[in-house]
Amino acid sequence: MTRFKRNILGLAVAASLTMGVAQAQVSDNLIKIGVLTDMSSLYTDLAGAGSVAAAKMAIEDSGIEKRGFKVELISADHQNKPDVGSAIARQWYDTDKVDVIVDVPNSGVALAVNQITKDKNKVFLASGPASSDLTGKACSPNTVHWTYDTWMLANGTGGAIVKSGGDTWFFLTADYAFGHALERDTEAVVLKNGGKVLGKVRAPLNTQDFSSFLLQAQASKAKIVGLANAGGDTTNSIKQAAEFGIVKGGQNLAGLLVFLTDVNALGLPTAQGLIVTNTFYWDKDDQTRAFSKRFAPLDKGIHPTMVHAGVYASVLHYLKSVEALKSDDGLKVVAKMKEMPTDDPLFGKGTIRADGRKIHPAYLMEVKKPAESKGPWDYYKVRATIPADQAFRPLKDGDCPLVK
C-alpha cells in the first residue's frame, strides 16, 4: 500500500514541479532507471547483480547528479519469463515512474519489453538480449540495442573461422527458436564464404548428456563443431567434448554464444581452444582494465562480461542525451542518442543507427591454454578484430520499418 501512497504523492509533486524548475521537461524532476535482469536462473552470472552495479557506476561516472539532476536506480528479476518481465515493465512505467529500462537478457522478455516501451513512449536500452529482430522486424523508435545480436555472433564467428581455414562444419543446435536462428544465420555465412556444412543435429533444450551427439559430430569429420546453443547446454557440451577428445582429435569447437562467465565456469583446461565472438573484453586496454578493477568487487569478483559493459555504456550515453536535451521524453531522447556520436571508455567511439543498432567493432577470440594464462580471468587472446562497419547486419537487410 505504501507504494500506492507514494505514487499519489509522486503525482502531486510532479504536478507542482512541472513548471519553473531548470529541468522542467524531465518528468517529475527525476530520471528513474530500471534494471530488469535475470537474478535467479540461467543468465544470473553474465548479467544479474553485475548489471545493477554497472548501471550504478555509469550514473556516478556521468556526474549528472552534481549538475542538479536527480537519478534513481531500481532493479527487478524477470526470472527469464516473458510474462513476469512484461508485468514488471508495465508496472514500472504505469505506477513507478520509471523512464528507462536497461539490460533484459533473454530475447523473449526483451521483445515483450520492446513493445510495451513503444506503447508507453519510454526508453529501452537492450544490452542483454541476443535477438536481431529487435533491430529487424520488431524494431522500435524507443529502443537501442547495444551490445551484440545473433546476426553479429553468426557473422563474426562463422565468417572469421571459415576465412582462417575452418571450412567444414557440423552444427550441434539447441532445438528451439533461438538455436534455429543462430544455426540458420551461421550456416548462411559459412556457405557464403565458401565453406561446407557436413551435418547437423538438433538436441532438445536442457539436454544433460551430449556424448551421443558429439559422437555424431566426431564421425562427420568436420573441422569445426559449431555450438548453436546457450547457457548450460553450451557448458555441458564443451565439457563433454573435452572428455571425448574432440579437440585433441583435431576438431575445433566454435561457441556461437559464449560469455566470459561461461569460460570461467568451465575452467581453462576444458575450454581451451574454444573460439568465440564478443564485443568487449575486460583486458583489452587500460581503460577497460580500470573499469574491471572497480567492477569486480561489486559483483562477487566476477569480471565484466560484454553485457555488463553494455549496461554501463548505454546508461552513460542515455544520461548524456537526457542532459543535452533537458528532457526524458522517450522518442526525443532516443532520437538524440542516435544523433550524438557515442564515446565511452569501454566500446570507444561509435554510433547508433536509425534502426536502433549500436555499432562498434567485434573481436574474434580464442580461449587460452592454461599455460598461457597469467592469472584468474585471463582467458582470451584476440585472434581478429571485425571492424565496426562489418560487424553488424547491414541496415538494408534488417526489414526494419523505421528505415524505409
Binding site: 536442457n206 551421443s212 555424431q216 557448458t235 555441458n236 565439457k239 563433454q240 582429435g249 568451465l266 562477487k300
Partner: protein, 294 residues
C-alpha cells in the same frame, strides 16, 4: 555393414553411451524406489540431493583438497545425514497423512535447496576436474570410450546389484520388506521400525548423492542440474513399477539405451521418448513393467 543407414560400429557406440546414461537413471531411480517402497513417499528432493552430492564433492576438493575417491565415500554420508535430519524433523510427521503431502513437502524442500545454491554459487556452475587416473580413453575399435565412462558403468552396476542383493536376499532386507507390509508386527518382534525407516531414507538420499559425485566430472556442477533430471527419473520409476527395486534398475538401464537410440534416429524427440514409453506402458500395464497391481 549398416542398420537403417547407420554403420553398425557407430550404433554400438551409441548403445554403449545409452548404457552409461542408463547407469545414472538406474542409480537415481533405485534411490527413489527404495524410499517409495519403505516410506511411501515420492521424494521430489531427489534431484536437489543429487545436485548437493555433486556440490559436496566440488566443495571438498576446493576447500579441503579432498579428492574424488574420498568424496565418493564422504559425500553420500554427509548428504545422507542431511536426509536423516529431514526425515526425523519433517517427513516423520506426515506418515499418517496422505502420500501426497510427502510429495508436496519434498517439492518445497527442492525449491529451497535450489534457490539457496543459486544464490551462493550462481547459475553457470562450477568445474570439477576429472580425476587424473581416469584421463584418457579406451579405443574399442568402434568407438573412443573415455575411461571415466567405463568406470561409471561398472560402479553403477556394483551399487545397483549390491542394493538389490541386500534388500531381496539378506535378513536385513527381509525386515525392511516386512516393515513395509506390516510395521506393527515387525515392531512387535523387537525391531526399531522408525529408526529403520529413517536410515532407509538416509540411504536413498545417499544413493542420489553418490550419483551426483559420479556425475560431477562429466556434467557441469550447477544448481539446476537435478531439476530436469528428476522428472525423467520419476518416469523411469513409474515405468519400472513403483517400489520395485529390480524394476527400477532394469528400466533405468533399458531406458538409457532407448534414449540413446532416439538420439541417433530422431534426436528432436530424445527428451520426450521416455514419457512416450511411459504413456504406452500405463495404457497396457498400468502397474508398470515390474510392479504388482494392488
Amino acid at each position: 555393414m549398416e542398420i537403417f543407414g547407420i554403420p553398425t560400429q557407430a550404433l554400438f557406440g551409441q548403445l554403449l553411451i545409452g548404457l552409461i546414461n542408463g547407469a545414472f537413471y538406474a542409480m537415481l531411480s533405485l534411490g527413489l524406489a527404495v524410499i517409495f517402497g519403505l516410506l511411501n513417499i515420492i521424494n521430489f528432493t531427489h534431484g536437489a540431493q543429487y545436485m548437493m552430492g555433486a556440490f559436496c564433492a566440488w566443495f571438498f576438493l576446493e576447500r579441503f583438497g579432498i579428492g574424488y575417491w574420498w568424496s565418493l565415500l564422504l559425500a553420500p554420508i554427509v548428504i545422507g545425514a542431511t536426509g536423516v535430519v529431514i526425515e526425523r524433523t519433517m517427513l516423520s510427521r506426515l506418515y499418517k497423512l496422505d502420500h501426497l503431502y510427502g510429495l508436496l513437502l519434498t517439492f518445497g524442500l527442492a525449491l529451497i535447496v535450489q534457490g539457496v545454491f543459486t544464490n551462493f554459487y550462481g547459475s553457470s556452475g562450477q568445474p570439477y576436474r576429472l580425476p587424473p587416473e581416469f584421463a584418457g580413453a579406451f579405443d574399442l575399435g568402434f568407438m573412443f570410450l573415455p575411461k571415466y565412462r567405463a568406470w561409471v558403468i561398472v560402479a553403477s552396476l556394483i551399487v545397483c546389484l549390491g542394493t538389490w542383493f541386500v534388500i531381496e536376499r539378506t535378513k536385513l532386507g527381509s525386515y525392511l520388506r516386512a516393515a513395509t507390509e506390516n510395521p506393527a508386527l515387525v515392531q512387535a518382534f523387537g525391531i526399531n521400525v522408525p529408526r529403520m525407516i529413517t536410515l532407509t531414507y538416509g540411504f536413498g538420499v545417499g544413493l542420489a548423492a553418490l550419483a551426483g559425485v559420479m556425475a560431477a566430472p562429466i556434467y557441469q556442477v550447477s544448481p539446476q542440474m537435478g531439476a530436469n533430471l528428476i522428472i525423467v527419473v520419476f518416469a523411469v520409476v513409474v515405468i519400472g513399477g513403483m517400489g520395485s527395486i529390480l524394476g527400477a534398475i532394469l528400466t533405468g538401464f533399458g531406458l538409457g539405451i532407448v534414449e540413446g537410440l532416439t538420439k541417433v534416429f530422431y534426436p528432436e524427440a530424445s527428451n520426450t521418448v521416455i514419457f512416450v514409453v511411459m504413456v504406452l506402458v500405463l495404457l497396457f500395464k498400468p502397474a508398470g513393467l515390474f510392479g504388482r497391481e494392488h
